[in-house]
Amino acid sequence: MEDFFASAISIGVIFLFGCVGEILTEKSGHLNLGIPGIMCMGAAGGCLGVKLCVMGTDAPSGVLTVVVAILFAVLFAGALGAVYAFLTVSLRANQNVTGLACTIFGVGFTTWFINSVVIGRDSVVIGKIAYAGRYFFNAHIPGTEKLGWFGGIFLEQGVLAYLAIALAVAAAVVLRYTRVGLNVRAIGENPATADAVGVNVTGYKYGFIMTGAAVAGLGGLCYVMGYMNGTVGSTVAQTIQGIGWLSIALVIFTMWRPALAILGSILFGALYFVSTRITGISFEQIPLLNLIPFVVTILVLIVTSIVGHRETQPPASLGLPYFREDR
């Protein structure tokens, strides 16, 4: 049971990264369907960062590796986020179309990049990356075994898990209690109004789309280095893509609240874990478990739209382009 919860959290935080990234993006009024591709980009960048740190040295520094990996993940994901932002904000392209193009590009790029550039056919690289994954990204505080189930579930997570929760809390605080959050929520609701009172709409949109992309990119890194212990396979991008779509579902499920997303992600993580690792149910029942998060999300979407409470709705201008001089 302890293992189950620990695993649920370790998967959940991947969703959490993607979800918080998408929430940040959507709060600025942009539905970014490129999140799956952007998460992949994070994985690609992270793998490159790890490779750069662990190759050519016998005793790579754990802290340096993690920091460089995070940096590269943020850079790669942020770059694709910037492309999305440039196309949808500056060039006013359709958000759905641009997002899907980002996903196609990101998944393709990552598959190619990880296979050709990062690992090639070099088993040494694979081994070293796996080493980094196991001992750097999943290192935990010594002595937690003594704390019983609590330590087992909450204190034996990898470093990225805590980063995810910290980011979710930070996102919640920023959105709810700061001027920046107030401004971006205003933009997501009604960009013309925000513009009229002097909020820099374009700047905020770029900022939040790229920050969102960077956060989501960490999800990709978290999957490869954290959850998979650095085991890099050729289908990694495909799997992350699936996780990316679930992350978008999670946004709806948690009604655009990062704090709620922490709990939601653990729930989704548990469902995902059950469907991949559980024994004792028959082979054909597994897909039905996989279904549950999506069905539950649809139900949440339906219920919130029927109840129609103003505060649980998607940002009012979600998906709509903004052009100041439109008349």
Partner: protein, 556 residues
């Protein structure tokens, strides 16, 4: 002499090929209230949007306190201490009043802190405002209060108010004016946009007049009169000699009894309203903006749910019928909303496609009826009647739509009403406002209605086009159509309508004969100060020869 607070020099703004503002020079002195006067669509709001950084001028320069200023964004305007209260409130619905006030302004942010700040400003100027109330729970005047507090919070020295009184009751207007005077005492400069002359005379120090995007002139209010301002506004002294043909009033065509309708916000927009329209009369509806005109139109056209009460057409209830069924009974509605496009037209579709908006189901194969004399009983006539009926049946059940007839209609409207458009296939979006209106009204009249409901048909039209519209309405009146005319301009209504009913917050204040009433009486009724229903104690709005109820079999 001190530098003027704000100076515009040769400012122009174009939208496509249309000049919204052309070569405008304007000065606002410190500590004065300048009224910016002009008809709808004369470019007042566009000009003010350039000062507040929403639009950027294509030509010209702006000086603030004697320094040339570039106002390319609202931040620039904010930095120059220019604040604008827009006609359409720019508020975030899901935020509280306080959050809206501080949005975009500097300073530390904290929920308790901003609530206190906003509360204290509201108290200082005597506004009643709960800083924690969400905008979606607020009334119109509360929202306006938030807008004004927003500008005050920023410490603006130059305030621009875009038609602030349009949505206010007289008491609220008076309150607003006293606040404005207090701000003037404080050394602030205020531009108020309005087209209500008596307000201009009451509040302003000077009046600047715009006409069709051009600057006409600026006069001290003390030296101006309502007549001279009107002349500046419209260009020439207008004798409102709108024709009012005398017609035989027919039996009641449309009767409304104790009608109650709710607004989108859930409040009662129409409250126990009764009235009737006879064939061959024009019934005017007067009232301040937003006192239920829109909801009344929508209820009659079947677009809005009727909460209680009845709507009868020639004695038959039409409550609950579909909009199409109502339109097929001969009730046509043309509502010109403020953006002129919102209701009744599809902006991306062509004039032709918009022309068949209501009758496209009958445009199947394009089989047209052959005219037959009514009394003709010859075999040929019988045959033709069967043919016509068959043709109509086929047209209605054809899966395809025939655009030839619609194109002919479009061309007819374009020619008769003088619509300026490259062709009948041009998207309506690319037409200018007045032409859009002509298309809309032209279509409604083409359906040959027996009841025509028309709201703000001359909104934003030039004088000649307006007279053209009045002529069209009078022509329909002579042909026995009952017309409900919802208007803004009392002078026009007094000249054009046979009777005028006055609404105040969705309630009927009385029905008066246009020839026997005065502007003052109407104004008092609109403001709710005079209620003929109570005063005279008689039942208004119910026809003596009503077709409803026991007299349902009444036959003309």
């Amino acid at each position: 002499m001190a530098e003027p607070a704000l100076e515009l020099k040769h400012v122009s703004k174009y939208f496509g090929s249309v000049a919204a503002n052309k070569d405008i020079s304007l000065t606002l002195e410190k500590g004065e209230i300048l009224a910016l006067l002009g008809e709808n669509g004369s470019g007042k709001t566009t000009l003010m949007n350039m000062i507040s950084g929403i639009y950027y001028p294509d030509e010209g320069r702006i000086f603030v306190d004697g320094q040339e200023a570039v106002i390319s964004s609202p931040q620039d305007a904010f930095r120059l201490k220019i604040g604008m209260v827009h006609q359409h409130f720019k508020l975030i619905d899901i935020f509280t009043a306080a959050q809206n006030v501080v949005l975009g302004a500097g300073g530390r942010y904290g929920v308790r802190r901003i609530n206190e700040q906003v509360g204290s400003i509201a108290r200082k100027y005597g506004f009643e405002l709960d800083p924690q109330k969400k905008i979606y729970d607020m009334s119109v005047s509360e929202k306006q209060t938030v807008e004004i507090v927003k500008v005050l919070y920023r410490g603006a020295d130059i305030l621009i108010l875009d038609e602030p009184t349009a949505v206010l009751t007289p008491q609220e207007t008076e309150k607003l004016f006293s606040v404005m005077r207090a701000m003037k005492e404080d050394g602030k400069s205020i531009i108020i946009i309005t087209h209500k002359l008596h307000e201009v005379m009451e509040i302003s120090d000077r009046v600047a007049v715009l006409r069709k995007g051009e600057y006409i002139g600026c006069v001290p209010t003390a030296e101006a009169s309502e007549a001279s301002l009107t002349e500046m506004m419209v260009g020439q002294k207008v004798e409102l000699n709108i024709e009012r043909p005398q017609t035989e009033f027919d039996r009641p065509l449309l009767e409304i009894r104790d009608l109650c309708v709710r607004s989108d916000e859930g409040s009662r927009a129409i409250d126990g309203l009764s009235f009737f329209i006879r064939g061959g009369e024009i019934l005017g509806v007067a009232g301040v903006a937003g006192c239920g005109q829109r909801e009344l139109c929508e209820a009659i056209a079947g677009l809005r749910k009727v909460e209680s009460g009845g709507i009868y057409h020639e004695g038959e209830s039409i409550v609950g019928l579909s909009p199409r069924a109502i339109s097929e009974k001969g009730i046509a509605m043309s509502f010109i909303p403020e953006d002129r496009l919102g209701m009744g037209l599809a902006p991306s579709l062509s004039v032709t496609d918009n022309m068949m908006l209501k009758n496209y189901p009958t445009h199947g194969y394009g089989i047209e009826p052959v005219p037959v004399e009514p009394g003709d009983d010859s075999p040929r006539a019988k045959g033709l009647r069967i043919r016509n009926r068959l043709g109509a049946f086929l047209n209605r059940h054809c899966p395809f739509v025939d655009r030839r007839q619609a194109r002919r209609e479009a061309e007819q409207v374009i020619e008769e009403l003088g619509v300026v458009t490259p062709s009948a296939e041009t998207p309506v979006r690319r037409l200018s406002g007045g032409n859009v209106q002509k298309v809309l009204l032209g279509r409604e009249i083409l359906t040959d209605p027996n009841v025509l409901i028309t709201a703000y048909p001359v909104r934003g039209l030039d004088i000649n086009s307006s007279y053209l519209i009045y002529d069209i309405l009078n022509r329909r009146k002579r042909e026995g159509t009952g017309i409900l005319f919802i208007g803004e301009d009392l002078d026009v209504m007094l000249a054009l309508c046979d009777k005028i009913m006055v609404l105040c917050h969705g309630r009927l204040m009385g029905v008066v004969h246009a020839a026997k009433t005065s502007k003052e009486e109407l104004g008092l009724m609109m403001a709710g100060a005079l209620d003929l229903m109570e005063e005279k104690g008689k039942v208004m709005g119910v026809a003596k020869d009503s077709l409803i109820g026991e007299d349902e079999t009444w036959d003309a």
